[in-house]
Symmetry: C2
Subunit: 328 residues, 2 copies
C-alpha cells in the first residue's frame, strides 16, 4: 500500500509522506504552457488534459507521495446547472442555487471526465504514489452557490442560513449527498484516499458552524466508503467538534501549531501545515519551518503538506528543497 493510505490507517513512518494542496497548478511552468493552449474549463472537462496536469508535479518531483486529481470543488455546482466559469478573478455562476429547483436532476456526465482522468493517471503513476480524490464540503458549496462568486463576507450565504433555515438545510443535505457520491466515484475510479475541502469553514461563528456546516460535512463523510478520508476546514481555529467527524485525517491550517493540534486531536491523523507563503521567503526559511513541523509530529502518524494551497508565485526549486528536507 502507498504511504499516504498507510499513514491514514494509523501507521507511523520514519519519514512522513508528502503532497501539496494545488501541486497541480499555476506555479508550474509546464502548467502555464498548457494553459496558453487550453482554458481552465478545458483542462477540467477533458480527461487527457486533466490527467496530464495531474501528472506534471509527479514527473517533476519524484519524491511526492500523492497525486491529487486536477479538478475543482465547483464541478458539483456545474452538475446542478449553476453554469460555473472560473476566470482568473475567481469563480462566476450564471445561476445561483436559489434559482434552481432543489429536486432538479443532477447532470452526472459532468463527473465523467474526472473519473476517466483518474483511471488514466493511475495507469501511469509510479507504484509509491497514491491517487487522491477530492470534493468541496456542503457549506463551502452552498456559500459559492448562493453568492454566485467569491465574497469577502459571505453575507448573503450566511444570512440565508437563518432567513431560510429549511431551504438551507435541504440544500446542505443534497450537497452532502452529491459530494459523497462524487468522492465515491473518485474511489471507484481508483482514488486511494480522498479529501473533503471546507474552504469557508472559518467564516461561520461557532454556533452556525456546529449547526450547519459540521453536520453536513459529517453527512458527506459517513456515506463515503472504500478509502480513508481527510477533512480540511480552512480556519484559523479548529472546532473541537471536528474530533467526532467520521474521517481518519484532519488537514491543519498554517495558523495552528502542529504540536497544539496533536494535543487537541489525539484520535485523528494530522496533515499539514506549512504556510504556503513560507516558500516565497526562500529555501532556508521554508526548510527550517518544514523541519519544525516534521519534528513536532515525530512518533505519530503524519502526512506533510501545506496549511493551504500553493500560490502561483512559488518557485518550484524551493518546493523541491522542502520535499528534500521532509525526506532527509
Amino acid at each position: 500500500m502507498q504511504s499516504i493510505p498507510r499513514v491514514l490507517k494509523g501507521e507511523v513512518l520514519d519519514k512522513p509522506p508528502v503532497w501539496f494542496m494545488r501541486q497541480a497548478g499555476r506555479f508550474l511552468p509546464e502548467y502555464r504552457a498548457l494553459r496558453v493552449k487550453a482554458s481552465f474549463e478545458q483542462l477540467l472537462y477533458d480527461a487527457d488534459l486533466s490527467a496530464e496536469v495531474t501528472l506534471q508535479p509527479i514527473r517533476r518531483f519524484p519524491n511526492l507521495d500523492g497525486a491529487i486529481i486536477f479538478s475543482d470543488i465547483l464541478v458539483i455546482l456545474q452538475a446542478l446547472g449553476c453554469g460555473v466559469t472560473i476566470p482568473e478573478g475567481g469563480p462566476r455562476l450564471t445561476k445561483t442555487l436559489d434559482q434552481i429547483d432543489i429536486n432538479a436532476s443532477l447532470d452526472e456526465s459532468v463527473f465523467e471526465p474526472v473519473q476517466a482522468a483518474i483511471r488514466k493517471v493511475k495507469a501511469e503513476l509510479p507504484p509509491h504514489v497514491a491517487m487522491l480524490g477530492f470534493a468541496g464540503a456542503p457549506w463551502t458549496l452552498l456559500a459559492y452557490g448562493l453568492e454566485g462568486k467569491g465574497s469577502k463576507t459571505w453575507g448573503r450565504a450566511k444570512a440565508f442560513l437563518h432567513q431560510e433555515p429549511v431551504k438551507a438545510q435541504a440544500w446542505l443535505n443534497r450537497l452532502a449527498d452529491i459530494s459523497a457520491k462524487l468522492l465515491n466515484l473518485h474511489i471507484g475510479a481508483g482514488a486511494q484516499a480522498v479529501q473533503l475541502f471546507d474552504t469557508w469553514a472559518g467564516e461561520l461563528d461557532p454556533e452556525d458552524y456546529r449547526a450547519f456546516a459540521l453536520p453536513a460535512a459529517a453527512r458527506t463523510l459517513q456515506q463515503v466508503a472504500g478509502a480513508p478520508k481527510l477533512f480540511f476546514a480552512r480556519s484559523g481555529h479548529l472546532e473541537p467538534a471536528l474530533a467526532s467527524l467520521p474521517c481518519e485525517g484532519l488537514a491543519v491550517p498554517w495558523q495552528l501549531d502542529m504540536a497544539e493540534a496533536r494535543r487537541a486531536f489525539p484520535g485523528k491523523v494530522l496533515q499539514g501545515n506549512l504556510d504556503p507563503i513560507a516558500l516565497l521567503a526562500g529555501a532556508p526559511t521554508a526548510r527550517r519551518k518544514a523541519r519544525q513541523i516534521v519534528d513536532a509530529m515525530k512518533g505519530v502518524p503524519h502526512i506533510f503538506n501545506l496549511g493551504h494551497g500553493l500560490v502561483p508565485e512559488t518557485d518550484p526549486a524551493v518546493l523541491a528543497e522542502v520535499i528534500a528536507e521532509v525526506k532527509i
Copy 2:
C-alpha cells in the same frame, strides 16, 4: 467614570457597555450623505468633518457607551510619507516602506486633525459615553506598508520578515513607537480608552506571530499610558501568548466562543464578539446571538461589541435592536 473604562479596570456591570467597530461609517445614511459632499480623505483630515462622523452614531443610538474617533489605521503610513489614498477598492500607497528611509522624520501634522476632532467630540458627548482612540498595530502597518495595498496572501510582507529580518525588525520597532505616540496623542486629547488593531494578525504562522507581530504590539502597548488599552488580533485563533500583553482588554473575533475565550484568558477583560454578518440575517437572529454572548459573559467584566467591523449593508434598525437586547 464611563462604563467602558470602568469595565476595563475590572468592574462587572449589570449590563455590559456597548460600542461597535466601524459604528461611524458607511452603513449610516447620514454618513453616506456626507460622503457625497466630501472624499474619504477629507473626512479623515478635517477635524470638523471627523468629529461630525464620530458623533453620527452617538446621536442615532443614545445607548451606545463609546464613541470611537473617525480616523484610519493608515494615517501612520501617511505621516511616514507613503502617500496613502483609500478608494472604495481598498488602500493604495504611492510609496512602500522599503522606498522610505527608516530615519526619515515623521510628519506629525498628519495627526493634528484627529486630536482636534477628539477635543471637539468630547465637548459634545453625553457624559455616559467614553471617547475611544485607536491605532494600527505594527505588523498590520508593516504589511500594508510593504504591499502598498491590500493583499490576499500578504506574500511580499511575510517573505520580507525572513529575507530582511534586520530591516523588518527595525521597521516594526519604529512603527511600534509611532503607534504608541499616536495612542498617547489620542489620550492627551481626551480618549478614555484606546484600541490597537492587528487586522492581519491571523495571516502569520504561530512562529512568526510570536517572533515579529506580538513583541511589536507589546512594544506599542508598553509605551501607552493614561488610559486602559484593548488589543484586537483579527484571527480565527487567539495565541495563548496574548495573555501576556501589557493591556487590560482583548477584542475577540467572532469565530471564537466567548465562553472558550473566557476560559483561555482569565486575566483579560474581553470585548466582543457578535459576527457582523449576523445583523444581515435580521433582528431575531442578531438578538438571539447577542443574548448568547451576554449570557456567556455573566459575572465577569465584558464589553459588548462585534467580532469585526460593521459592514455597509447593515440595517441601522437591526443594530438598534441588538443594542436594546444587550441593554434589556
